[in-house]
Amino acid sequence: MSQRGVVELLIPARPEYLQLARAVVGEAAAADPSLDPERVADLRLAVSEAAANAIEAQVRSGMDERIRLRCDLAEDQIEVEVTDRGSGFEPDEVAELPAVESPERLEHESGLGLSLMRRLADETSIQTSPDGTAVRLVVRFVTAGDDT
C-alpha cells in the first residue's frame, strides 16, 4: 500500500475552485486507504483555509496568477503546501479576535482561518514575503492501533 508520490495542482485564484482543491487533497490522501478519515477531513479544511487566504491575497494584490497546491504523501504523513503570489503579511501581527464571551466578538466575521489551520494540522509553517506566501501544512498519521 505504500505507493507514494507528489501531486501538484494549479487553480485560478477564485473561490469556486476551493472545492476542487479540497477534492484533490481528499483524493491524494485516498491513495493510502489506511489514513484516518477524521484526519483527512481536518487536512482538507486546513488546506481549504490556506487556499482561501491565498485567493484573497492574490485578488487583493491584483495578481492574475494561479494558486499552487503541492501534496506530498509520505510514509507517515501528508504534507500540503499552498503557494500564492500575493503581497505577503506579518503572521505575528495578525490581530487577535476578542474573546468569544465578549459582545464585540460578533462584530468579527473573519479572522478565524489561521488559528483553525494551526489547530487542525500537526504542523503549520508560513513563509511569506512581498512576492508571495507559502503555507505548509502537515498531518501525521498514526496507525489504527495508536489512534485514540
Binding site: 473561490p15 469556486e16 476551493l18 472545492q19 477531513a41 481549504s48 460578533l106 478565524l112 482561518g113 483553525l116
Partner: protein, 113 residues
C-alpha cells in the same frame, strides 16, 4: 454552484435549509439571503445545516453575521447541525459557546430560548 438554499416558512420561524458547501464561494449567498429575509421582516431564522457537506471559517463568519443581523432586529437565529464533523468546526473556533447546535429543526424550534 456548490451551495443551494431553500426557504421554508414554519411560523413564527423561517427555516433556511442549506445544501452543499458553505465555504468562501457559498458564504456570500447566505449573507444575501439572510439580508433579504430580514428586510422582509423575517427575523426569526433556523439555519438548517443538516445537508451541508463542508463548512469553513468564511462560512462560519457568514453564520456569525446572520446572528448579528437578526439580533439587531430583535430576532433570533437557531441552528440545526447534527453532523459531528461540522460541529467540530464550530468547536475548533470556540463558537459552540456562542451558538447552541441542535440535532434537527424540530429540536431547535422546540428548545427553550
Amino acid at each position: 454552484m456548490h451551495l443551494e438554499l431553500q426557504c421554508i416558512p414554519r411560523d413564527p420561524w423561517t427555516v433556511l435549509a442549506l445544501r452543499g458547501d458553505l465555504d468562501m464561494a457559498g458564504a456570500p449567498r447566505l449573507r444575501q439571503e439572510v439580508a433579504r429575509l430580514v428586510a422582509e421582516g423575517r427575523t426569526h431564522l433556523v439555519l438548517d445545516l443538516r445537508s451541508v457537506d463542508f463548512l469553513d471559517s468564511t462560512g462560519l463568519g457568514a453564520v456569525i453575521g446572520a446572528l448579528r443581523r437578526v439580533r439587531s432586529h430583535d430576532g433570533e437565529l437557531l441552528i440545526a447541525c447534527p453532523e459531528p464533523r461540522l460541529r467540530r468546526v464550530f468547536t475548533s473556533c470556540d463558537l459552540d459557546r456562542v451558538f447552541v447546535l441542535h440535532d434537527d429543526v424540530d429540536a431547535a424550534v422546540g428548545a427553550p430560548a
